[in-house]
Every structure is written in C-alpha cells, then in structure tokens.
Symmetry: C2
Subunit: 474 residues, 2 copies
C-alpha cells in the first residue's frame, strides 16, 4: 500500500518538475498596467508582429485583452531570434518586464496602452499555419459566409469575441434577477413526443425507431413546474425548422424562460420581465463599456418605466403619427413595431414598450383571454428598439377551459397528458415570459444579423459548414 | 395621445382594483415561524386535510415548505364551510393569525412545527380532481413507472421536489466555482452534422432534408472555444441513443462541462475538478440539510485531498485487498470502481479517487497519450462513492498529432473542419472535464435510479409517457 501511495506522490512531484523550476505565476495581459517595473510571465497568442528593423513589436492576446511586447536583441538575443519566426496566432510564453511607455507612444484605444513589456525570454508553445486573411485589424471585414466558414478562427478576433462576453453577462443577469426573486432553476428536456406547439416548423428525430421532435420551446415544461416550485426559470435550447433564411431567425437558439404562479394580475409578469431586462442593462453597462465601444453601441435609455399599451392603442398612435392605418390588422408588423418603439423613445424617453391585448386567435392556445373582452388576450410582447424582445402572458390555469382551447386550436388533448396533469390537480393563476438570448445580444450591440450573436449558428444552409444540396434519395 | 396614456393608466388602476382592497403582502409557509401573533396572507396547495369533528387541520404547501392551518368554525364559519369541500392539491388563499403551538403538539419533523395558523378567511383559487393515489405521506411509495406516468403530479411531493432543489444548487456551485476561476460561460449547439464521437449510439435528426445528429456531448465545441476564451464552461444537453435500459443512463442528460488552456500539467485539471466537486458539497451541505435528511443522506467526507492513482495501481490495490486479479484488464469494471472508492474511504477518509492512465485505446481520439508511456493517456476519471463522477483529461493540442489520431480512430478529418481549425491556428496545452448533473444528484442523495434525478427522463421506453411499440413501417 505504501509503495503505491509513494508512487502517487512521485507522480505529483514529477508533474511539478515538468513545469520547470519554480517561476512566477502567470500574469494576464489586462493586469500589466498594475505591474509597472515588475517582471511578469505572460502567455497568449500573437495577434500581430511588426518588424521595425532591430526592434520587433508583438501584440499578445489572452483572455483578458491585449498588451504590446517589445523584443530588443540587446535585451534578449534569443527572444529576438525566436520572434523572427513568429506569425499571427502562434501561442507563446513570455518572460519580461513591464515598462511605462514614453508619453508620445501611449495607445489610448488599448486599456493597456500606457505600458509595454520588454521581453527577456520567449518560448513557442504552439505554432499556427498562415492565416487565410488578416486578423490583426480593428475590424474583421469579411462577408458573413466567410466569417462562418472560418468560425473557430474568426471568433478569436477581439471584436467578435466581445459579442460573447456581453452575451454571457446577459444570461447571467437573467439568472441573478430571478434567483433573487425566489425562482428555482430547472432543466427541461428537448426531445419531445409530439409537435405540440403546432406548425410544420419542427425538426423530427429518429428516437429508437419512434418519431420524436425537438422542442420548439420549454413552454409546456416550465408551466408544469409552477405546480412544484411556483416560480421557475430555465435557459433552454429551442428549435425552429423555419424554411427560410432571415436575419432574425436561427434554427437552434437559446431561450431564456421564466414562469410564475400566484400572480394577482398579468401586470405582475410585465413587472418581472421589466426588472430582468433592466438588470441586463445594468450589468452590461457596468461590465462591458469596452465591448460596447467596439460597436459604437451604448445601453439604451431605461430609467423610465416601460409604457404599456393595448395593441389597438398602439395602432391608433401609429395612425395619428404617420397616417399608416393598421387599426384593423390582427397584429403589428415589423414596421409598426419599429414605429411604436420610436414613439416610446420620443414621448417617454425609453425605446421600450409593452404591447398587450393581441387578438386571442393570434396567440397560442394556452394564453388567457381577457375576461372583459375574450377576443383579446392577457398576453404581451415587450418591443425593444425595433423588434420583439420578450413575449409572455397570463396562461389559462383552469383545466376545463384549457381542454377546450386545446381542441379549438386543433390539437388533441391526449397528446398533452403530463401537461394537463398540472392543471387537473390544482394550478394557481400563472404566467411567464421568454426571450431569445441571441436576439437581445444582437440588438444591444446593433449587429445586423442574429447569426453573429450565435457561436455556431444553425440555419437552413449550414451546420458549422455549408450543407451540400440535399440528395433526392436519402 | 393623452387619452391613450390615460387609458394605460386606467388599465393599471384596474389591475390594482382586481386584486381587491389593499391587503397584506403574501407570506410564505416557511416564514410563519417568524410571524407569531401576526396576521398573514398565505397561498398554496392543500397537502392534507384532517377533519377532527369541529376543527379541520390543513397542511398548506408552497414553494418554501409546509405549515399547518387550523380552521375553527368559531373563528370563521365561512372558512370552515369552504374547508369541508377541500381536497388534496386544491389551491387556496388564506388569511389567518400565526399562533405558537401548545408544547405537546409541536411537530419536530416540520421546520414550521412550532406554529400553526388560525384561519380567518379562506378562498379557493383552483380546484383539483381526486388524486390517483395518496400524496400526503412522508414517502411516496410508488413503483418507478407509476411515478413517471404521473410525473407532473408526483413531482409535487416534498421528497421528490427536494431532489431538484439539491440539483439546482449543484449546477449553481459548478458555475460559481468556474466563474471565480476566470471561466467564461458559453452556449453551444446540440444539432451537429456528423456523429463525430463515434458509435451507433446517436440520434439522427431530419434537418431540412439533410441527416443531422444530436450531439453526444459539447466536447468538441468547448475545446474549440479554448482558442477564444482559454477557460470556458457550459451546461449542455447531451444525447445518447443507448439501446438498453439501465439504472445509470439517460437518453438525454445535462452535462456540466469545463475546458481550460495553458495548463502546466494534466494535474491542473484534476485540481480544478476537485475544487468544483468540493464547492458542490459545500453548497449542498450549507443549504440542503433538510432535503438530505429526507433521504437519510449526508454529504460524503471530503476534507482530505482526493487521491490520484494510475489505473494499474488501482488494479494492484484491488488485487491485494480482495484477490480479484484484473491487473491486465484494459479498464475498471463497476465492481472495481466501487472497491477502489471503498479503499479510498478506509485508507484516506474520502470516498473519492482520481484514476489516471487508462489505456490510450480505450479513450477518445483527442486524449493526450502520456509522452513517457504512450500506451496510456493523461486522461482521468474521478470515481466517487461507487461510480464515475467526472471524466476528463489533457487533450492533444498539436495539429498533426490530432490529425493522425482522428484517422487512427477510424474517423475522417474532413468531418472535423471547424474543430481542426482550432488546432491548425495555434492551441495551447489544454484539457478539461465533464460530469453528468443527474448522476451526481443521484449519488449525493443515494437514489437507486438516475431517472429519479431527471424531471422528465428520456429513455428507450419513454418520452414523458410510455412509447407504444414501434410500428414496422414508419
């Protein structure tokens, strides 16, 4: 036994030895400004190399940002020699001393622009092949297909990775707000037995020789969970087999979903959704000024309360403003949505507005009709900047009424067994809301296509790589 | 304009009116112990009703727990009348006064057992049909199929919902630890173009007339993201078309995945995995003593460092302990795993042990062979209590070596386009680990089947409801 324990001990010793002699802990590029005149160990990727005769300048990128390295043969002949071999995306380890830059060489666009690192030793950890295009500029001016064909590489560009730094904060703000409000996080399945939310826009799965489907949303499951935890949220995968390619839709996306029971009114739901969105703004504003500035973006004004209008009121406002008469349309079209956001900004200082009371026919079967006017529902959309940010509403919580709606919407109650259980055995007044993570990311940064806000976007024409034309016979 | 704004204002006023006259904010069942002699408003589900002649006792359940209500006709005749109609799972709203219970009626098993609420008013919010079985006991003694056929209902039982309170904390601890260590949360797709991790155990998807698949893990994507964020984690859906029904496997499960670059040794990965698991223990221990006690469970001892053994050493130990000679087997079998955990507990006071150096042939193509003995890898499993909790390892980060392994493992490099990009353009030494959320939940609570730790488990025989026998012709 002791022999074996000793062997383990040796393993651990050896792994320490393999790391070489004791050396300084790694310092991140973004921390160098705080380490002036200190010796540091840096690791990262070569972003650019500029050969100025004797001196070689390298931009080193790591997860914290970028810092400039100066390789001077008079300081380290070895490092200078190795540096001549370096190309973009080489992975290197560098020992050097942080120096304050002379006043006239300070780079104000770079958070570490007041310092540079004088290189004393440089090792290549991993080599890179020649890049198919230049990645060293501030912008990566590539067409979307090229950007996506080279996604793993292009994601490394600081302006592209910035999108996903903001995205993780949006998701994090969603969770934080709801946890503080007593919501429980749940994990719900994506393989479902029936295409219960209707339509042909559903992917089918070969499930042990049965036909199953990919969930269009976590809607039914989060409602079912109100009976257990009252207030739940989930960050879910949702799938839409949209047979068209638009700038607003993905075939697989991340849905931020919340549902809460014991509401007094559907207005409680809008209060909660507003709280969530405002916390997203607060966290992005607090943590991502640098990322926002890469896009010339800023968090939209949101001090004021988000206005709440019935759909018919919104149509009336649009008619009065620009004489577009959509007052008998059953929905707002994209131009209407944009117009009403513009109105909200001008009149109320905030480009967000809740629209309630869409026609019952236009909403899903589970939406609660307004008891005072059942042609319209207690559902809502939060329109933000120019499009739908959040969709939600009060749900039908009465078993019999739900049953009749399921039938009226052309579905079969027997396909809703476990869902109907929730309502058969006592469900309080409840409702919830959902928002697409990629769409919010896109709108906050002003991206032109939602694909840019998905690490590896799925659409009709692409799963990572472009799909071949489908064969006639499978 | 003003007319419309006024209308909105009226809407909001009306919703306030609908709530009735101003009344106390809702108090949760679990808060009543702090409200002795105060009037409270409670909302929740009737868990049990006990009719003691004149007095009616109700257990009211809400998201915080259970509290006893006493309905005395001398206090409220109306409430008493309504209470006679109540059945389990009715949703009610109650006004009442919190009273300290007489010493001899204190219920020590209930966190609110020192108080009860004297009911002054009671309203039914939603009715429930008669339950198919009794839900009022401490245990819900049902066979698994019955439990799952009635999943939405049975999840309401306090002992069942407790499982998912613990589960959300496990997920939360995973995130917290890694965020603090500089990891970035990522969201990766589940629809993939090729069944890249091998085997027939993969679900196929009809993707716009192309054949696509459900990802067996987020493995390749998290590795790709090391080039961007160095340290990443994701809570992902993973799919295994296991053609058998065992107590340990699900067809869809939640995978907690982490990956980190710039490691000095594969031991860094075990350090990080150990930190994550120990934070899970800490948080569950701090927040869920009540839930653990329902299962007679406790957080396993974990003060000591988790031992690290090579697979061959573990086999040697097992041979010496119980004379089972598996010393030339290429893997540990379930009995071996259990035995070595038992050994670790006895010899080292902690039922967790990392096993490293499994044979290269038995690990996935991306696992780094030990340079000193390439027949064995720098991969590891963390065995906990009796089975695999975590699997991980250092990955091959050299492009040419990876290419040759892909071929040697029988795969086609052209199916790994975006994955190979990560290594073609400079990848530091890296590795990571993954663990199944349901399995850890199961082991921590001592559940006998992993299905109990999934809200709506998927397997060969069930998607929510039992699947019919597949038809011969689709």
């Amino acid at each position: 036994m002791n022999v074996l324990l000793n062997e383990s001990r040796i393993m651990n010793q050896e792994s320490r030895q393999r790391r070489g002699s004791p050396k300084a802990a790694r310092v991140l590029a973004g921390e160098t400004s705080q380490k002036i005149d200190q010796e540091v160990l840096l690791k990262g990727w070569v972003r650019t190399r500029r050969d100025h005769g004797k001196l070689i300048f390298l931009d080193l990128r790591d997860r914290s940002g970028v810092v400039q390295l100066v390789v001077n043969p008079q300081v380290s002949e070895g490092a200078h020699k190795v540096s001549q071999e370096l190309r973009p995306e080489y992975v290197i380890e560098v020992r050097g001393e942080v120096k304050k830059r002379p006043e006239n060489t300070i780079n104000k666009d770079l958070p570490t622009g007041e310092v540079e690192v004088e290189v004393k030793g440089l090792t290549i950890l991993s080599k890179a092949e020649t890049l198919p295009f230049d990645m060293g500029g501030e912008e990566l001016n590539l067409e979307l297909p090229t950007l996506l064909d080279n996604r793993t590489l292009t994601l490394r560009h600081p302006k592209i990775s910035a999108i996903f730094k903001v995205q993780k904060t949006i998701a994090s703000a969603f969770r934080k707000t709801l946890k503080e409000e007593g919501f429980t996080e749940i994990f719900v399945p994506t393989i479902v037995a029936t295409a219960t939310e209707g339509g042909a826009e559903v992917f089918s799965v070969d499930y042990y020789k049965h036909k199953a489907y990919l969930a269009q949303s976590p809607q039914l499951y989060k409602q079912m969970m109100v009976g257990i935890f009252e207030r739940v949220f989930t960050i879910a995968h949702a799938y839409r087999a949209e047979p068209s390619v638009t700038t607003r839709h993905l075939s697989e996306y991340i849905s931020l979903d919340a549902e809460m029971g014991f509401i007094d009114s559907y207005t409680d739901l809008m209060d909660m959704a507003e709280k969530v969105v405002k916390e997203m703004f607060r966290q992005v504003s607090e943590n991502h000024q640098q990322e926002l500035s890469l896009f010339g973006a800023s968090v939209p004004p949101h001090k004021n309360r988000f206005l709440r209008l019935k759909m018919r009121e919104a149509q009336e406002i649009i008619f009065k403003r620009i004489k577009r008469d959509h007052r008998s349309e059953p929905d707002l079209d994209p131009a209407d949505e944009k117009e009403i956001c513009q109105w909200a900004l001008e009149e109320h200082g905030v480009p967000f507005v809740f629209i309630t009371h869409y026609p019952t026919k236009k909403r899903p079967f589970y939406t609660m009709p307004d008891p005072r006017d059942p042609e319209y529902t207690l559902g809502f959309d939060l329109l933000g900047i120019s499009e739908e940010w959040v969709t939600g509403g009060q749900r039908i919580n009465d078993y019999q009424m739900l049953l009749s709606h399921i039938k009226k919407w052309g579905n079969k109650p027997e396909q809703f067994g476990l869902y109907l259980q929730a309502f058969k055995y006592g469900m309080p007044p409840e409702g919830g809301f959902a928002m697409g993570l990629e769409r919010i990311t896109k709108d906050l940064l002003g991206l032109s296509n939602v694909r840019e806000a998905s690490l590896y976007p799925r659409d009709m024409e692409r799963i990572d790589e472009r799909l071949q034309k489908p064969k006639k016979e499978k």
